[in-house]
């Protein structure tokens, strides 16, 4: 059963189109991230789901009910804002109790729920404080508490961690995953941080220019990026992309660029010879021996591995990742090759589509796509009172 469905949803602001005919179906209990650079339409999408923006056309369903005409408060959703949006004149307790008050929950029950939520988020000591007396992390937990307190069908989170420092962010990531596992509720999470999306999500919806680029589990987005944009956006350091030409000799495909000529694995039937792009992740650049010459430019030591930036004779730069310790020095000329089983081939243009056969180049041919329902066995839904 789908918890959230976007059907051909389009949003225009005047002459600017923020979202182009989005189709997206999110399963019950799933944790989905909307990931993309700023201005890609992810926040607009979330706000339309919340009822804070209105789609120009198309339909949005929550729990098999079309909600286009339903007020935000009646959609059975809760939302955590990037700015937290805590009510400054209310205490922490009043902030958390507000959604219950608006639903007419009796006082006694309200107090019980607030106490339980505060307990869960370790806010009990802070209940009488005003938001401005709290640290950023505490404010964040209050915002979360306000969303948790009424057990909504869908949680919407708009970059909730972006105002925290790096350490707290790492901690909250784990907390949120834990929370999701415990509650088993659908969560839609907007972020521009691929690390958050990769570590927390069941599936990631990568967006760019108001269009959905790929909607798949994190591993698949990483290993089989649907197009050149996704390939370049996901992964740090980024995938090296080399423009060149594709030629075909029977069943064998050959990729050629300045100084590079290599056979690539089986491509899709609709692949055709012509301009194309070769993508290699840093871990699949094999330094030491091979047909290609490169000069080492920079060696970044991260402790357990080294990131090596190389320049080929054509001027093309590429990034490799090798386990530490290594003794490469800048200026050194090395031989290198690419792991042919793990190269990616894309059509021409900034959104050139992936030409590799599914599950081949990633070396995961046999693994079936992640089954969401079984992947993270959500706890059975609590009976609603």
């Amino acid at each position: 059963m789908a918890a959230v469905v976007f059907s051909n949803v389009r949003k225009e602001f005047g002459s600017f189109t923020a979202v182009h005919g989005l189709d997206l179906s999110i399963a019950e209990g799933e944790f989905v991230s909307l990931l993309g650079p700023s201005g890609c339409g992810k926040t607009t999408t979330l706000r339309m789901l919340a009822g804070l923006e209105f789609p120009t056309s198309g339909e949005i369903e929550i729990g098999n009910r079309v909600v286009n005409d339903v007020a935000p408060g009646k959609r059975d959703i809760a939302m955590v804002f990037q700015s937290y949006a805590l009510y400054p004149h209310m205490s922490v307790a009043q902030n958390i109790a507000y959604p219950l008050r608006k639903r007419g929950t009796p006082l006694a029950e309200r107090q019980k729920s607030v106490a339980a939520t505060a307990e869960l988020l370790q806010l009990t000591e802070l209940l009488n404080r005003k938001p401005r007396q709290l640290s950023g992390g505490q404010q964040q937990r209050v915002a979360l508490g306000r969303a948790l307190v009424r057990d909504p069908k869908v949680f919407l989170l708009d970059e909730p961690l972006s105002n925290l420092d790096a350490k707290l962010r790492g901690y909250m990531r784990v907390e949120l995953v834990e929370l999701h596992r415990r509650l088993g509720r659908t969560m839609v999470y907007v972020t521009h941080d691929q690390l958050e999306a990769m570590t927390m999500s069941d599936r990631i919806a990568v967006m760019e220019g108001g269009e959905l680029q790929q909607f798949a589990p994190p591993t698949e987005v990483y290993e089989e990026p649907a197009n050149r944009f996704v390939a370049s956006f996901i992964g740090t350091p980024g995938m090296t992309l080399i423009d060149g030409d594709l030629s075909r000799d029977g069943d064998h495909w050959l990729f050629q660029a300045d100084g590079i000529s290599m056979a690539v694995a089986t491509l899709k039937d609709n692949a055709s010879p012509g301009p194309a792009c070769l993508g290699v992740r840093p871990e699949h650049v094999l330094i030491g021996e091979g047909p290609v010459n490169g000069v080492i430019q920079v060696v970044e030591k991260t402790g357990h591995e080294n990131i090596v930036v190389l320049e080929l004779s054509s001027g093309q730069r590429l990034t490799g990742r090798v386990p530490a310790p290594q003794s490469w020095r800048p200026g050194e000329t090395v031989q290198l090759s690419f792991d042919a089983d793990h190269t990616h081939v894309f059509g021409p243009g900034p959104r050139g589509i992936r030409l590799n056969r599914d599950g081949v180049s990633a070396g995961k041919a046999s693994a079936p796509p992640l089954d969401i329902a079984n992947a993270n066995t959500p706890t059975p839904r609590k009976a609603q009172s």
Partner: protein, 275 residues
Amino acid sequence: MPTIRKIALNVFAWTIVLAVAFPLFWMLVTSVKPSFELFRRPPTMLPETWTFEHYWHLIERTNFLTYFRNSVILSTATTLVVVAIATLGAYSLVRFKYNGRESLAFLVLFTYLLPSVVLIIPLYLLLVNLGLANTIFSLVIAYTTFALPYALWLLRSFMAGIPEDLESAALVDGASRLGAFWDVILPQLLPGIISTALFTFILSWNEYLYALVLVNSDSARPLTTGVMNMLVSAFNIEWSLLMAASVMMSVPLIIVFAFLQSYLTRGFGAGGVKG
């Protein structure tokens, strides 16, 4: 060296400040001097004899208290009406989308700058035709012509300063638009409302032209025209009495000013200059 420069700067600054404030000091001093002392030459800087007889005189033998009461009623009524209408209007202008919203905001700004003398003739005719001339109510109507655009413009910038996320959060939490307005926006807007109300009150309290044209009976006359009338109609100008009247007239402003200075400067910045 720095101390000498500091002292010089302070002396310089305070000389100017005191020179600017001197007329107000002189007003106070004159109001507590006995009449005969006024005509002393050279003038006495501080009164040799202090007296409050002019204040008693003002209250007992003139219409001052009636004027004062009229001004209080007039300014309070204008402020309440204008702030109530403008708060709703500013909320609508800032947080809603409908056709004509932009042109309306333009019209507000335009009327904010419009000279009173353009409106006064038709307003005079209108109020005479409605049989409202010579009433406090007619002045409340007339005062909205300058107070409403002003209050709307001020409140609009205060409203724009409230994060939109707060309202969004309230909506998601189950509030209606008006519910969110009441629960979240109004409490946040309160300092802005207070400061707008103070400014509107001061504007109405000090208004002269409409009062001059629309009211010519003592029962409805506010302080500005009332006190001016005392000057014009007196056979012998009693300066002490007029200065006492000026002081009394300024007392509400001094109170407003002293206690709520922070609100005042806030409103000043928001409306006057940022536009």
